[in-house]
Every structure is written in structure tokens, then in C-alpha cells.
């Protein structure tokens, strides 16, 4: 019953499907070649940075990469006891810090942790200067007195290989030391071993079982070291700054030790990640939710004023004779041909208290000279300037949609008995709604991410979330927080777009045609 049809063949006997595929493959390859320059450009300059930004908003490798031993040691510390961590943490931290200072990465770590706890940046900087001058020099002297072989890096090299199991700290410290020395382009054999290696060795010897080494050198060192005066690294750090003896500092480090953190996102919504879980920021520090709210609210106001101002102009444009319409269109487009900065600056001239508008109002006695209007460096200024700047983005889609509404609709409505107003409101307006939709989406999305104009005319109360993002990108250098804020903004826009699609339908957005 179910006989399979033989494949259709072309004239020369190859299967038709294969032949078609081959024919289409060339078409596809050609199409791909045509778009590929732009595709690569976009991938490289647009998609990749966005992906990087999304990643940065959760990425937190700096703590782990800079002080890996400390992070490891802190895992065993129970912050609930609210006591300073044990010596093992300070020993690990000492080792990490010495190498971090050599690599000059301790200040970056300090800045990073400073976002979460103020004061840590200076604490790290200060400690970086002092950590090389710890009393661990005494260990070095003592070991060298015991056997000069300790002054030779070759000894360390051999032991870090053969006795790694019994000397974990020493082996790991020696490996990092080698890296650091080689990174400088020096020969390790020509260097003197650093104090930090002796400190690690001392610690290992103290904790290894007595006489358990294969090397007699080590067994000797172990029995001798028992008589050394131990140096408390906790005290050494405590001598630099009291803060190192504050458990809260260590809790902060522990909380942000993970490679990925929700911390930036929590910061973006005025929360913070503490050792005790997610908490609200202090009343005075909460600004981002307010800023997001203000950005949305002001973008909405700007969009509405663009509709109110743009609709009549677009209507006129669409209904004037072509020549006049073209002239008017040039006037509408004129702002596009002037620099954004020039336009914004001219608003500063117009709107300031001793500016043109206030002068005219005072001259006309609409306002008293003593009570000149505050039109700039507040929300009013931002709304006025941005409405002006974004107006063409409302007018153009409106115009192109209105252009497609046949005049016969309104005529038909009038011939059916509708007054001018009814004909407009019941017939013309509903048909122009797709233009309002397109213009609003355009203006709103542009407004929500606007930065230069609010920066220039917004003062403190008229700035947007984007200004905060710019601040974190260029001034505070807290890129993670900037990325988290940007990510939230991006998803807010996508959500709006999605909602709009659900309610109005994106097919109803027309930019003409």
C-alpha cells in the first residue's frame, strides 16, 4: 500500500532536491557574503560589548584571583562567631598580599571591596606599603644561619618538587614566586628567596609531623624552627591598621569571595549583600530606585509632550501642498543638522534665570523680577530640552503614517454626516494611532537612555539613570555596577517593547508605507 514515490530526477538524472539545494546554496552564500561585513562589524562592536557588559554585571573574579589563598582559608572561618579569623587566614593573606603588591593588583582589589565597605581601599593601599617590612625577615635570617643552603633558590626548587605533599604552603608560595620573578624577566636562581617563602616554610614545618621529611635538611630545619620565636602575622597586620582585627572587614571579603555575585544587581536596586543576607541600604544611600522611577516618569512626560506638540505639526505636514510641506519639513529636520551640544547649550542660554525667556517674561511683567522662574538645572529643564530634541522622532513616523491615510476617509465621514471634529476623532485619529505608537516607542526608548542633555541641563534633580551609569563608567570606575544598571535598563526597554507588542501589536507600528 505505502509504496514510496521514487525521487524526482532532473533531466540529467540527479535528484531534483539535491539539484535545488545546490542552486540555492549559491544564492545563500551570496546573500551571506553581502551581509557579512556588517554582520561582523555589528558582532564585534555591538553584540560583543553588550555580552561583555551583561557578563561584567555579575563577574567578580578579582577577589578570587588576587587573594586565592585567603579565599580558601576563609572558607573554614565561621563568621557567626564575630571574631577575627585565625592565624591560618592571616598567613594566607600575608602570602597573597606580598605577591599582589608585587603585581600591583592589591589597590584594584581594595577599590573593588571599597564599593561594599568604605575604607577598604585605603586599608589595602596602606597595607601594601607595609607588608614588605614585616618581621618575617627574622625567619629568613634564622634559616640562613642554620644552613646557608636556604639562601639558594635551587634548594627551594628541589624541595618544592620532592616535598610538596608535606610543604603545601611553601610549594604554592614558591610557584607564585617563580611566576612573579619570571614575569619580571629575571633568572630565579640569581635571586634571593623572599621573606614570604621563609614564613610559609616555618608555618609548614610547624604543622608537619616531626621528622617526617625525607630530606635531612628539612628535618634539621624542623627541629631548629621549634626553637624560633614565632611571629604572629595577625599582630603584624593589626599593627598596620586596627581594621584588620575587625571581623566585619573579613566578613566583607568572605561575602564577595565568590567568582559570580548578585551584589551589583542588588546595589542597583538599593539593596546590599551582607554576611547576614540581603538587606536594604541605609535610607540616605538609596538612590537607584528613585533614579529608575524618575527616568521612567520623565521619559513618559517627554513622550506625551512630544505627542501633544508633534501631532498637529505632522497633521499639517501631511495635509499641506507638497511645496509648503517640504519647507515645513526642512524646519522640522533642521535640529537634526545642528549639533546636539549646540542645541542643548542654547537651551541653557534661553532657560537660565538671567536668560532670554525670563528676561522677556519680566519685561512683559508676567513674572516679578525677584521671582524669576527656575527653568533649568531641574526636571523642567530636562523635559523642555529633551522634548525639543526628540520631537523629530515623533513627527517623522506620525507624518509618514498620516501620509498614507487617504483624504477620502475624512471626506466619506463628512458626506455621511459627521462634523469636522467627529470625522477627525472617529476616523482620522484611529488611523493615525500606529504612527503615535511608532513615535512613542522611538521617543520613549531614546529618552530612557539619554545622557548628554540631562547632564547639561538637568542639575541634580533632573538627571537620569544613564547619568549615573556614565558616572560609574568614567569616574568611580565601578564598571560592575554600571553594567548591572545598564542591564536593568536594557531589560526594562525589552519588557516595554514586549508589553507594547502584546497590547498594540508591533505589526501596527508603521514608519510609513
Amino acid at each position: 500500500m505505502t509504496a514510496i514515490d521514487p525521487p524526482v530526477l532532473t533531466a540529467d538524472g540527479t535528484p531534483l532536491k539535491a539539484s535545488l539545494r545546490r542552486a540555492l546554496r549559491r544564492e545563500k552564500a551570496r546573500a551571506f557574503l553581502l551581509v557579512s561585513p556588517l554582520l561582523f562589524f555589528v558582532l564585534l562592536t555591538f553584540i560583543a560589548p553588550i555580552a561583555d557588559m551583561l557578563f561584567r554585571s555579575v563577574e567578580n573574579g578579582i577577589v578570587h584571583d588576587t587573594i586565592p589563598r585567603t579565599v580558601q582559608a576563609l572558607r573554614n572561618w565561621d563568621p557567626g562567631e564575630s571574631e577575627v579569623p585565625g592565624d591560618d587566614v592571616f598567613e594566607a593573606f600575608y602570602t597573597d598580599m606580598v605577591f599582589a603588591v608585587e603585581r600591583k593588583s592589591h589597590t584594584r582589589l581594595g577599590s573593588r571591596l571599597n564599593y561594599e565597605r568604605t575604607g577598604l581601599a585605603s586599608l589595602f593601599r596602606k597595607s601594601g606599603r607595609r607588608v614588605g617590612k614585616f618581621d618575617t625577615k627574622d625567619y629568613a635570617d634564622a634559616f640562613n644561619t642554620l644552613d646557608p643552603a636556604w639562601g639558594n633558590p635551587a634548594t627551594w626548587d628541589v624541595l618544592a618538587g620532592s616535598e610538596a605533599a608535606n610543604l603545601p604552603r611553601t610549594a604554592s608560595a614558591y610557584a607564585t614566586w617563580l611566576e612573579v620573578i619570571q614575569a619580571d624577566g629575571d633568572d630565579p636562581l640569581g635571586e634571593e628567596p623572599w621573606d614570604v617563602l621563609y614564613a610559609a616554610l616555618f608555618s609548614d614545618l610547624m604543622q608537619a609531623p616531626a621528622g617526617g621529611f625525607a630530606s635531612p635538611l628539612l628535618n634539621d630545619a624542623q627541629s631548629a624552627a621549634a626553637r624560633f620565636e614565632p611571629i604572629s602575622l595577625r599582630e603584624q597586620f593589626g599593627a598596620i591598621d586596627e581594621d584588620w582585627l575587625d571581623p566585619q572587614v573579613w566578613r566583607t571579603i568572605q561575602t564577595y569571595a565568590a567568582r559570580y555575585t548578585p551584589g551589583y544587581f542588588l546595589n542597583s536596586v538599593d539593596l546590599k549583600l551582607t554576611a547576614d543576607g540581603v538587606q536594604y541600604r541605609d535610607e540616605g544611600d538609596r538612590i537607584y530606585v528613585l533614579l529608575f522611577g524618575r527616568t521612567l516618569y520623565m521619559s513618559l512626560v517627554i513622550t506625551i509632550s512630544c505627542i501633544l506638540l508633534g501631532y498637529p505639526v505632522a497633521f499639517l505636514l501631511a495635509n499641506l501642498p507638497l511645496r509648503t510641506a517640504n519647507l515645513l519639513m526642512i524646519l522640522v529636520l533642521l535640529p537634526f543638522w545642528t549639533s546636539l551640544l549646540v542645541r542643548t547649550s542654547s537651551w541653557k542660554v534661553l532657560l537660565q534665570q538671567q536668560g532670554v525667556i525670563n528676561d522677556i517674561l519680566v519685561a512683559l511683567r508676567f513674572v516679578d523680577d525677584a521671582s524669576r522662574l527656575v527653568l533649568i538645572n531641574n526636571q523642567t529643564g530636562t523635559i523642555i530640552a529633551m522634548t525639543h530634541i526628540l520631537l523629530p522622532f515623533m513627527i517623522l513616523p506620525l507624518y509618514s503614517v498620516m501620509k498614507t491615510i487617504p483624504p477620502a476617509y475624512v471626506r466619506a465621514a463628512k458626506s455621511l454626516g459627521a462634523t469636522d471634529w467627529t470625522a477627525f476623532w472617529r476616523i482620522y485619529f484611529p488611523n493615525s494611532v500606529p504612527g503615535i505608537g511608532a513615535g512613542s516607542v522611538l521617543v520613549f526608548i531614546l529618552a530612557i537612555g539619554y545622557y548628554i542633555t540631562p547632564e547639561l541641563v538637568g542639575g541634580t534633580r533632573g538627571v537620569f539613570i544613564s547619568n549615573r551609569i556614565a558616572y560609574h563608567i568614567s569616574s568611580s570606575l565601578n564598571w560592575g555596577l554600571a553594567a548591572a544598571l545598564g542591564t536593568i535598563l536594557l531589560f526594562a526597554v525589552l519588557m516595554l517593547y514586549w508589553t507594547y507588542d502584546k497590547i498594540v501589536g508591533i505589526d501596527n507600528v508603521k514608519l510609513g508605507g
Binding site: 466619506a412 463628512k414 454626516g417
Partner: protein
């Protein structure tokens, strides 16, 4: 007197002129009376002023000069929405954001007619155009013919006494157009509505109208019933615009009893009916319909003038034969003969003689 007067002069154009730029007249001195219940067609080439006249009647254009009267009242200063004139537009102008029923209810709504009465009238109007089922659809979901019907129903739903139609069938294919022509005329006559119909399609004008006003150059060239228009065109424009026509140029030789003899430029003499010529020696354009040319000499009148003609081309068209001949030096002279069993099929190259009844050959203005 008053009653019959308004019945005959339901719509009156009185010395109406229209200019858009103040330099040229688009409509020149238009005088026209339309009787109640009449189906009048304005026919003419594009730019002849017919649509402008319609728009002035609808109120979308104002007359530069003259008066337009509707039912005895001047309407120049009445805005379109108060004129109560139904209108069907070229591309239907159905409101795309409303359903069919909402489109139809719109004129009733703006007239503040109650919901139940409104629905009843909408249903009746839809029934009238056999679209009763389609009330819930959007215009975009309908075919061209269906949209046309809805546009018609919408123009009629508020029971206007006058309906204007601006090339309403232009966008339909031939078959549907012919069907709709029939439906529109039937409906207009059934409801007794006065209709002013604008078209550039002469077949449409001839088949649908009670009277046709042929427009050219801003004037009515002839206003007459379709048969009169076709058979008795008053000037050469109408003769050439309506139907197919053979024309010959010549000079009037003599006029007698309404007939005249014309000597063609080639020197031959023919008989014609003096329609638009008044004096001997006047230049004239003689027009003969292709189907009125006689090639069978025995059917001609005694002593009728005949012309020699050379057959250039014979085209078989099924119901008719179309023969192209060289007559009096012109080689676009066409003769149409019925495909009857005894009809001769002329072969190219043959020389024949042809003639016509003087009544069928009209001497018009040159």
C-alpha cells in the same frame, strides 16, 4: 407648478464656474438640471471637469461662481455633512478600523439614531446588497466586489435622496463590473434615488444611465439619453468619444432638407445629414459608425453616392467581422459586419464599393 418644477429640477447647476488658481477655469459655465429619481452620468476624459462638478455638489469644493441648488435651495454655503448626500468613493473609503456593521452604523450614529433602529437599518441595508452575513468582518477581509457593495450600502443606509458615485467600479475586473453596473442601476431605480454617477468608461455610462452628460474642456458637450448620444452625436468630440467612429474631412457642397453633400479632400462626393453645418463651403468632419457602413450596393438608396475602397485587413472577431479599408486616402476606415451565414468575408487587396444611408452619416463641426 412648484411641485413639478422641483421634480424636474431636483439638482440644478446654474452658471457654475470653478477655478483653482484664478487663471484657468476647470469648469466653464455649467448649466444642468437633474430630475428627481433620475440616473445621470457625467462622462468625460480625465481633466474634463466632471469630478470637480461632483465634488462641488458634495460640498468638498466650492463653486467659484454660480449657484448649485438642491431641491430648490441653494447649497453653496452648506457644509458637506449637512447636505445629506450619500456618496460612494473611487476606492470605497471604507473605514479600515471599523467592522462592516460599524461602517454602516456610522452615518446613523452621527445622526443620533437609537441603537435598535440603527441595527435594524444596518441589517436592512446589508440585506439590500446581499451582504447580510458580513456585518462582523473588517473591510480588509472582503473582496473588491464585496467592499463595493458595502460602500454602496453605507451611502444608502441613511436614506439620502441624492447619491453621488465617483467612478465606483474603476477598481473591479470586467465581469464583476458588469454585474455591479446592473445591480447599482436596479437598486437606484427600486429605491427611487436620484443618482449622479461619474465615470470615464463610456460602456458604463451608456448601459446604466437615464441621461449622460458628456464633459470635455470644462463644458457639457452633449446631454442626452444614451441611444441619442450614440446615434445622434451633436459634435465631433461626442462622436469620437462615444463608440467607434470613421471620420472623413471635407467641405459642404450643398444643403437641402437637412441633408447635404460633402466633397472630401480627396475629391469624392458623399451624402450626409447636416447636423452641425449651416452654410455651403464650410469645413466639416463627417462621421459614420462602422456598423452603419453598407458594402452591399443593393441596399443603398437610388442615386446614393458611393466610395471606392481597398480592403487592407480582415479581422475575424467571432460575433462580428472587422474590416479595415483605405477610403478617400485614409487607411483607418473600419467596417463592422455581422457574422451571418450569407455575409461575405472580404479579402485583403480587393477593391469594393461602399456607401451608407444619409441619415447615418453626420456632417459635424470640423
Amino acid at each position: 407648478m412648484g411641485a413639478s418644477r422641483t421634480a424636474d429640477n431636483f439638482v440644478v447647476f446654474e452658471k457654475v464656474q470653478k477655478s483653482y488658481d484664478g487663471e484657468t477655469l476647470v469648469v466653464k459655465d455649467l448649466n444642468l438640471s437633474i430630475a428627481k429619481g433620475e440616473f445621470l452620468t457625467m462622462l468625460g476624459p480625465s481633466g474634463s471637469g466632471k469630478t470637480t462638478c461632483l465634488m462641488m455638489l458634495a460640498g468638498f469644493e466650492t463653486a467659484t461662481h454660480g449657484e448649485i441648488l438642491l431641491d430648490g435651495k441653494p447649497i453653496n454655503n452648506i457644509p458637506p455633512h449637512k447636505r445629506g448626500i450619500g456618496m460612494v468613493f473611487q476606492n470605497y473609503a471604507l473605514f479600515p478600523h471599523m467592522t462592516v456593521a460599524e461602517n454602516l452604523a456610522f452615518p446613523l450614529e452621527v445622526r443620533k439614531i437609537g441603537k435598535t433602529e440603527r441595527e435594524e437599518k444596518v441589517q436592512r441595508a446589508l440585506g439590500m446588497v446581499q451582504m447580510g452575513e458580513f456585518g462582523g468582518r473588517r473591510p480588509a477581509q472582503l473582496s473588491g466586489g464585496q467592499q463595493q457593495r458595502i460602500a454602496l450600502a453605507r451611502a444608502l443606509v441613511f436614506e439620502p435622496e441624492l447619491v453621488l458615485m465617483d467612478e465606483p467600479l474603476g477598481a473591479l475586473d470586467k465581469q464583476l463590473r458588469e454585474h455591479m453596473q446592473f445591480e447599482i442601476t436596479n437598486l437606484a431605480h427600486e429605491l427611487g434615488i436620484t443618482t449622479v454617477y461619474v465615470t470615464h468608461d463610456q460602456t458604463e455610462a451608456l448601459t446604466m444611465s437615464d441621461r449622460v452628460a458628456v464633459f470635455d474642456d470644462g463644458r457639457i458637450q452633449q446631454l442626452a439619453a444614451p441611444d441619442v448620444l450614440y446615434e445622434e452625436p451633436e459634435n465631433s468630440f461626442v462622436a469620437q468619444f462615444i463608440g467607434e467612429n470613421n471620420t472623413l474631412l471635407g467641405k459642404v457642397e450643398s444643403i437641402m432638407n437637412g441633408n447635404c453633400t460633402v466633397s472630401l479632400d480627396s475629391g469624392e462626393i458623399i451624402d450626409a445629414k447636416a447636423v452641425n453645418v449651416s452654410s455651403v463651403g464650410e469645413r466639416t468632419l463627417v462621421s459614420i459608425r462602422p456598423e452603419r457602413v453598407e458594402i452591399n450596393k443593393s441596399r443603398l438608396m437610388e442615386g446614393a453616392h458611393t466610395l471606392k475602397a481597398e480592403v487592407l485587413e480582415f479581422i475575424y472577431m467571432g460575433d462580428v467581422f472587422r474590416t479595415r479599408l483605405r477610403v478617400a486616402g485614409k487607411d483607418d476606415f473600419v467596417v463592422k459586419t455581422r457574422n451571418a451565414p450569407d455575409q461575405v468575408r472580404l479579402e485583403a487587396g480587393k477593391i469594393i464599393e461602399l456607401g451608407w444611408l444619409p441619415d447615418d452619416c453626420r456632417a459635424l463641426d470640423a
